[in-house]
């Protein structure tokens, strides 16, 4: 993945997959309350953590994204009743699996933040982005070869 000129040198690329019903609202609450947050996170809104395909995380980390954060409703609080119960198992298996391929499992984190927990959201995102800054750039796999619509691919 090529470095975009808009990305400043010390900013990390972190993707946050946030559940529409809880964590997305929680992040909104944090914003409305004017809580200071790190700017490395790019948010993707998903309808439920049950929508999370573990491959989203794997593809991001293989492509050289520095960190992936998944956040949804607390267990037993799911808008669709059971979505996050499925997600919990899948994401835990993924977290255990990542180091086997040689990907640092610390680059991936999943947690639960409700819509009213603006303060908690601030803590989660600050802590995670701090951890990613300590880990440094993610080498990814084969990210140096030019791909994806690049004329110099061959």
């Amino acid at each position: 993945m090529e470095e975009k000129s808009t990305t400043s040198a010390n900013e990390m690329k972190i993707i946050g997959f946030l559940c529409n019903w809880c964590s997305y609202g929680g992040a909104d609450t944090a914003g409305v309350s004017r809580l200071k947050q790190p700017t490395d996170l790019r948010v993707i809104r998903i309808p439920c953590t049950g929508r999370m395909d573990p491959l989203f995380v794997l593809k991001a980390l293989i492509s050289g994204i520095d960190g992936v954060l998944v956040s949804g409703c607390h267990p037993k609080d799911c808008h669709y009743a059971v979505g996050n119960f499925y997600a919990r198992r899948r994401l835990e298996v993924l977290k255990e699996f990542l180091p086997f391929l040689g990907i640092d499992a610390d680059r991936f984190h999943y947690t639960w933040v409700s819509a009213s927990e603006g303060q908690r959201w601030q803590e989660v995102v600050t802590e995670f982005s701090q951890r990613i800054h300590e880990l440094g750039r993610n080498p990814g796999v084969g990210t140096k070869t030019k791909t994806e619509n690049s004329v110099e691919a061959y």
Partner: protein, 322 residues
């Protein structure tokens, strides 16, 4: 010994033929080392079937993949299975791809299957094999270069060296005597534990090294009895576009991740993916890790209980620590 078992198989099949429409089994290929799958529909063809350690293929995939082998109304499909194949059957029954009542399962306890590539490597790739005999763990081969003997253990497939379930876990008829597993269940994942002694970077480099040989022929996916998406496989879809057509290591990594994660908690370790790989990638090793995780987190082993639900297709609201 193998001839006796083959004869027993013929006898059993002749007896059950009235209720069976079609039989899935193995027959001799173009040389004694090469066995091929065969679909038998009439009684006179039963004598074509064989059973010996060269019968490597897992036939259960033919029951679910198009064009699937299906029995006529009120009849059954008879399918020959080894220990590992029977676990694939259980997994397919669990997920309602197969109806247990429409199957007649003929189980054959397995003492390990032979990798013809290893044999050919030992006797020279250009030789012609005339005859192969196995007795008391010794493989005796008559070939154009003379006579050669080798122990079975030295030419087994990797999946057989780490087999803990050589006896079919589900069957209607069992042919031959049950055998003792080669390794204990507690030792199943010792290779995984050993691999995890390496550093993250060494592990990544290992996978980059072996996967860079991958030509994405999709043989591993096609041979897998549980990879049932077929034409809907997301590795070949343009929308959503998970992998590109380009042969880069990144795309190969994503393809193998798709294959492995779609089998998380379902893979029964029949080892077909690894056996069919033309460039010798240890494809099953990735799934071994996923199975190790499933065993540790959910105390679940795939393909043993037809009533169980694979752990990632269900949940437990009360589980702690996850």
């Amino acid at each position: 010994m193998w001839n006796e078992i083959t004869e027993k198989l013929h006898e059993v099949l002749r007896n059950v033929m009235p209720q069976v429409d079609v039989v899935l089994g193995w027959e001799r290929g173009f040389n004694p080392l090469r066995i091929k799958p065969v679909v038998v529909r009439s009684e006179k063809d039963i004598s074509r079937l064989v059973w010996n350690p060269f019968c490597v293929q897992n036939l259960t995939g033919y029951l679910v993949k198009n064009p699937a082998v299906i029995a006529g109304e009120g009849k059954k499909v008879a399918v020959c299975v080894k220990g590992c194949d029977s676990r694939s059957l259980v997994a397919l029954i669990q997920e309602h791809f197969l109806d247990r009542d429409r199957l007649l399962i003929i189980g054959v306890p397995c003492q390990g299957t032979i990798d013809w590539r290893l044999v050919m490597k030992k006797i020279g790739n250009t030789t012609t094999v005339f005859n192969a005999h196995i007795e008391d763990g010794i493989l005796r081969i008559e070939h154009s270069g003379g006579l050669e003997q080798m122990s079975i253990e030295s030419v087994l497939l990797r999946r057989c060296l780490r087999c803990a379930y050589p006896n079919p876990v589900i069957y209607d008829v069992l042919i031959g005597e049950t055998v003792t597993p080669r390794i204990d269940k507690s030792e199943l994942y010792r290779n995984v534990a050993q691999f995890e002694q390496k550093s993250l970077e060494e592990r990544r480099n290992f996978w980059i090294d072996v996967l860079s040989r991958c030509v994405r022929c999709y043989a591993c996916r096609n041979a897998c009895p549980l990879c049932i998406c077929q034409d809907w496989c997301i590795a070949e879809r343009r929308d959503p576009k998970w992998v590109t057509q380009r042969p880069t290591i990144k795309d190969i990594f994503i393809f193998h991740s798709i294959h492995a994660l779609h089998l998380a908690g379902r893979c029964t370790e029949c080892g077909e993916c690894e056996r069919v790989c033309p460039v010798g990638i240890p494809v099953m090793f990735i799934k071994e890790k996923l199975n190790e995780i499933n065993l540790r987190l959910f105390s679940y082993e795939a393909g043993l209980d037809p009533q169980a639900v694979p752990p990632l297709l269900t949940f437990n609201p009360h589980e702690a620590g996850i």
